[in-house]
Every structure is written in structure tokens, then in C-alpha cells.
Symmetry: C2
Subunit: 415 residues, 2 copies
């Protein structure tokens, strides 16, 4: 099995570094890939579960654009709906009727939703959710789970990161994931000051194992929030439509007051949505929230087509099944080479780490090397982030993936 | 001349209000239109400088989607570039090479730009500019011009608005537009604490006259910022590419350290850009900024096509010319009916108000009524916001507009 070369990609990155800080910034920065010189950093074509880089290398993609791609790249039903909308006008002086249709669809689909508002970034709606919680309660403080990601806004970044200032976190309190007692103590200390508790449905930090909620964690949190008048906000930006079409809180069996969606909602077209309960509707109306492209029709038409298709085929179930088979195959192959492959999180969004053997701690270097060995043979794996499955990952791609995984372990053993 | 009816629009708004707070929120909310029952609130088609509502009414559009539309809706060159990019993959796991091309193009086009980063909302890049200024200076405070709009993020909203909290503004200082002495005093009071001064190139508040900079205002501000180590940031989101292709600061003859672009940059495709000087490049690289759709190729390809076409035809000059003819025609017609029509700002972004006569103060009710009378005859005018010209506003549309303006004044006189 030949390993890929990345000559054009690295030439392009050099050009990029002259005119873009870091060449590529944010979550797609090459700094996360090890070695960064053997990773595809640009895509010239994408289709189904694959993309191609400027060197002509083909990749089976287990990042799915870090979540947005759910039905496969260039899904015909989604693109057709988008193109129809584009012909009618995308960003116009007033919204399109499709905005009403999409809100009605979400209210029907998501039991926790009595209304919806739309924006562009996941971060637009996580930020808006804090404003709605504050407007509704007249309180200032927001509780976050330490290490969770809710976007790149200063309030959501770790205190002390470059460009953030003390004021950004003056109303943020931190609790630990799955620590109900800790949360209860925090609420007691700040009684009547806490507007909202914002959390992902399960814990999926960067560069660390994912953690599912403890058995009665969400039931207790929900009861605590109700009792204390705290708005319970779920950031379903990353998980949304990969666990349960009705919102990932349904997968875990509880009911939040506000839910933030984005990423998979429109199969890659830029859209996010905040949905919520009737009791918060008039408060949301009072909060000023807008953006130049928030009313564009194309992403809304794409969202309608995406959600209808995901619902029709039960997309989350499909992704969970493929994810389970991927996990089983990889664990078995790792074992056959004497390695231990560990998967946390849900099967449709696995966080994978490779250890030298059953008893060993994970050495990041080994794990990163293994991801790199897979990637330069045609399976895009990021070592620092959970992966994403789509409904477009076919049996053929799964087989090819497992062949490459096998070869990568072999190269580790022999290297 | 028959006035339009809005039966379908109002039916749709009723439906919308059940599932969307306010039916339509943000800057497109019906609350800004008077009377709100006689305005088009939805668009089912758009082409060139016109759009059509669900009742079949046709409007010549002087809002241009509140800025994004610059070359006309559904411009063939822009849409063709976008569709080509879409075929290659829009939101993928890595950026497209078009990102490098667009950054190179902007660095070539805008003399103040040595680099560029891309995002979705104007507000993404105004917020990022504050972070870069803070990272670069190690200082916390940002000076804003009171009444200026920089997006809907809490720091950019007026203190006290629903959902904002005290902490949101703890590092914001306010100065008044065109008041150099006031700015100088503020800087002296907070010496070594001010990271950046963020301002639009001229003052274009909502529901009030626009104000151009005083003759030596920007030269003095630029010198002050240099002297005091304050990062000078221009929010060119609204004005960008309607005054000067090289950035609106070139129109006024000064050089900022950072410039925020969005709206017209891609003729309606969702994109924003922060560009800046070499001295801030490594600081920008340190700041974490990202979003799920920030690397999508379609808006970047659309931006390249938009900027090339605007450059080829000198779009800002074309828009300024049409704006001048619109202004002259409207002023003359108003006078012939005994009214006084006042225009502030630049011709391509006129802020218009109608007064009962030459000496009279503007009565908002009269002005709003006039905008409504024009709109229900087929010219979309918003009373609270500056209008936008595009290169797609033709002679024929200008003539039709002036006919409607004439008729609207007649109806005011007789009403």
C-alpha cells in the first residue's frame, strides 16, 4: 500500500502563510495534525464520504467537515433544494417563506421546541441562549462545564487565552462534568444569581476521552434547574441529529428549556438555530439578535431537505450502526497487532485513542502517529477531536478503512 | 397608480408568529416599518434590483438586503462562480484553495491589508478585531463611538438592552462621533489602558442623520492612535465596497491597522473578513477564532467573482452616480410638492428624511408615512435606516422610482 505525498498541499500552505495568519486558523489549523506535513490541508473536490486534495489524494473522511456533513458531500436532494432557493433569491431585503416552513418543521420535530430562531454560527445561538436566559431570569451568571466547547466567543474560551480579558468571564461559573453534587453546591452558593446552565448533552472535550452522562445525572440536573428557576440550555451543535432527530436530550431522556443546533442541520450549508419553550418566547423576542445573512433562504431550504431526508432514513440510527461496526472492526484489528484501541462517546461520534497494549496509558505520540499513518494511506483521522460518521459511509468504505487501519498498525509495529 | 395589498404576507406573518418570536426578528422585524401591515415582509423571488413578495407585488429595492446585494440579485458571474465551487464541495473537512486566492486578492486590493482571515457575520470580525487589539497591546479597554452599530453581540449593544449584563460593557469606553477633543481627553484619562478604537468610516446610526468625518478628523485620530499605541480598527461592514474598492478609509484618506468587511463582499453569500497590517499578523495567529462554516468555499468563490466584477466596473463610482441622481430627483420632486427632502451620508448609502417644509423639523410620523406610501406603490424604502444603492439600479428603475416618489408626495398632500 503506497503512502501519499503532499507536495501541492505544502506548496499551497506556504503561499497561504504569506497572506493568512498561520495559513489556516481555527479548528482546521495544521497545528493539530501530526506530522502536519503529511496531512491533507486543502480539498479540491468532495463527494459522498470522500474528498480529494490538490495532490490528487483521495480520503475517506471521518471528520465530515467537523460535523456539518451528515448525508454525504453534495447530496443531490439537499443541493437541489438549495439551488431552487438560490434561483428565487438567497439573501434578500426580507426573509423567504421557507423560514416559516423550517420553523414549523423544527417545532414539529423537536418536542422541546415551541419556536425557533435562525442564525449562522453555532456560537451565534449559544451566545443568544445566554442572553435569553438572562433576559428571562433577570440574573447574570451562567454555569458552564469546564472543558466544554461552545464556540470561539471570548466568554466561551478558557480564561487567559490570547485576546480574552477578565471581564469576559466575570459572569461565568464553572462546574465539572457529571458532578451533580458540585453543581448543587455551586447553585447553593449563588442562589438567585444563576440565569442558565449551558452544557452539551454529553461531554466531548478536545484531546480527552468523551464521557456519557451518569444514569440519573440529567434527571437530577433538570429537577435542580426547575426548582431554582435556572434556564437549562443544551448545546446540541455538535451532537444534533447524530443521536436522535428530536434532539440529543431525547436520547438521554430529559427536557431542556433551550436547545442550540447547527453543524449537521443543513448538511454543510451555513445555518444555526435556537429553539425553546413557550415560556421563553416573549423574552427571546425582547433580545436583539441579528446578522446580515441570518435570513438567507438557501441554507434554510437546505436544512428542510436535510432534516426530511435524515428523518426518512432515520439518519442517527444509520450513523450509530456504521459507527458500531467501525469500532468493532478497529478494536479487533488493533488487538491482532497487540495494540489497544479505545473508543468513548457515542458510536456516531467516536473519540478514538490507541495505546501500546491493554494495560498501557495512552501515549499521545503513538496515537498521533497512528492517525497520521492512516491518513497518509487515505483515511482522514484527526487525533485530537472526536470523529463524525455520516449516512454516506458505505460498506465498501468501511472495508477499505479497516484495510488501511490494519496496514497502519502493521507500520507502527514494524516502525 | 394602484396601491398594493399584502394579504398573503400578513397571513404568512400570522403563521410565523406562532413558531418564531416576533414572526421576524432582528433588523428585518416588521416593527421598523410603518404601517407594518402595508410592507412586504417576505420575498419569493429577487432579480437585479427588484424583488417580489408572496402577493405578487414587485418592488424596486433600495435596501439591497441591508447591504449585501451590490451587483444585483442573482448576478450571473457571481452565481456561476458559486455553483462551480459548490460542485467541488462547499463545507468540507479542510478549506479549498480558493481561500488562499481570495486572501491574496484582498491583500492586493486593499493597501491596508497584509493578511486576511474569513468568517461568517460582520460581528464575527468586529469581535475578533477587539481580541487581536487586546492580544497585541496587552490592554483591555476598547473605545466605541456612541450610537454606532457593530453587530448584535452583547458588547456592541447599548448597555441595558434585554439580555445584556454589566460585565458585557466593563471594558468599553464611549466617545462621540467627530469629537476629536473628546477622544483625546478619554485617551488621556485611560492612558496605557486602551487596546483599540473601533469606528465606522463615517457615522451612520439608525433613525438619525448620517454624519461625514470633519476635514481633519481621521488624520488627527490616526496620529493619536499611533502616538498612544492604540490599534485603529475600521468597521467597514456596511460601507465596504460602496465608497472605494480599496476600503472606505481610502475614500477619507487615512490608514487603519485593522479593517472589518462583510455585507457586499460576496453579493449576498455569507462571508466576512478581517484584514490587517503585518505588525498584527502574529498576534492574530495567537487568537483562537473559528466557526463551523468559516472555511466553506462557495462564499469565498462568490467573493472573488463579486470583487473582480465590482473592480472591473468601478462599482462604488457607479453606485455613487446613481445615488446622486436619485437624490437630485427626489429633492426636486419633494420641493415641487412643498416638502423638504433631506439626504445625509454618501450618495451610495443615503439616509433620507422628509420634512413638511424647508424650515420644519422632521416629524418621524410624516417621514414614515411617506416611506410607506412609496413602498406600497413598489419602491421599498425603510424609514429608520440608510438605504443602499447597487450597480443594478438602472435608468428605467430610477425613472419608475421618481414617478412613485411623485405619487407618494401627492398622496401626502391630499391625505
Amino acid at each position: 500500500m503506497k503512502t501519499y505525498t503532499f507536495k501541492e498541499t505544502n506548496r499551497l500552505l506556504q503561499r497561504a502563510r504569506r497572506v493568512i495568519p498561520g495559513g489556516i486558523y481555527g479548528h482546521m489549523s495544521p497545528r493539530y495534525y501530526v506530522p502536519d506535513s503529511d496531512y491533507p490541508l486543502y480539498a479540491v473536490r468532495a463527494e459522498g464520504a470522500r474528498f480529494w486534495d490538490p495532490d490528487g489524494n483521495e480520503f475517506i473522511d471521518y471528520m465530515c467537515a467537523y460535523g456539518p456533513m451528515a448525508l454525504g458531500y453534495n447530496h443531490p436532494k439537499v443541493d437541489e433544494a438549495a439551488l431552487q432557493a438560490l434561483k428565487s433569491g438567497d439573501t434578500v431585503t426580507t426573509p423567504s417563506p421557507v423560514m416559516v416552513e423550517l420553523a414549523e418543521f423544527l417545532v414539529e420535530l423537536v418536542p422541546a421546541a415551541d419556536w425557533a430562531v435562525f442564525a449562522k454560527n453555532g456560537n451565534d445561538v449559544t451566545s443568544l441562549s445566554l442572553m435569553v436566559a438572562r433576559a428571562a431570569t433577570g440574573r447574570d451568571k451562567i454555569v458552564l462545564v469546564e472543558g466544554s466547547y461552545h464556540g470561539a466567543a471570548p466568554w466561551a474560551q478558557r480564561p487567559g487565552r490570547p485576546g480574552t480579558v477578565d471581564g469576559d468571564h466575570s459572569n461565568i461559573l464553572y462546574t465539572r462534568w457529571n458532578d451533580y453534587q458540585g453543581l448543587e453546591r455551586l447553585v447553593a452558593e449563588h442562589r438567585h444569581d444563576i440565569a442558565g446552565f449551558l452544557s452539551t448533552p454529553y461531554f466531548h472535550p478536545t484531546s480527552a476521552d468523551s464521557q456519557l452522562p451518569g444514569e440519573d445525572y440529567w434527571a437530577k440536573v433538570e429537577a435542580l434547574c426547575r426548582r431554582e428557576g435556572i434556564v437549562l440550555i443544551i448545546d446540541d451543535v455538535r451532537c444534533g441529529f447524530r443521536l436522535d432527530m428530536r434532539g440529543s436530550h431525547e436520547y438521554f431522556g430529559f427536557k431542556p428549556d433551550l436547545v442550540c443546533f447547527s453543524k449537521a442541520i443543513a448538511n454543510g450549508y451555513p445555518l444555526s438555530a435556537l429553539v425553546g419553550s413557550d415560556s421563553l418566547k416573549s423574552e427571546c423576542e425582547k433580545v436583539f439578535a441579528t446578522g446580515s445573512f441570518w435570513f438567507s433562504s438557501v441554507p434554510m431550504a437546505a436544512a428542510l431537505a436535510t432534516l426530511r431526508e435524515l428523518q426518512r432514513i432515520d439518519g442517527p440510527r444509520v450513523m450509530q450502526q456504521i459507527g458500531r461496526r467501525l469500532r468493532e472492526g478497529m478494536v479487533r484489528i488493533a488487538e491482532s497487532h497487540g495494540f489497544d484501541l479505545r473508543v468513548t462517546g457515542v458510536p456516531s461520534m467516536p473519540f478514538v485513542r490507541v495505546a501500546a497494549d491493554k494495560g498501557a496509558e495512552v501515549q499521545p505520540e503513538l496515537h498521533q502517529r497512528w492517525c497520521g499513518e492512516c491518513t497518509k494511506r487515505g483515511v482522514f483521522f484527526a487525533s485530537h477531536h472526536n470523529w463524525f460518521l455520516s449516512t454516506a459511509h458505505t460498506d465498501r468504505e468501511l472495508e477499505r478503512t479497516l484495510d488501511i487501519v490494519d496496514e497502519a498498525f502493521r507500520s507502527l509495529s514494524s516502525g
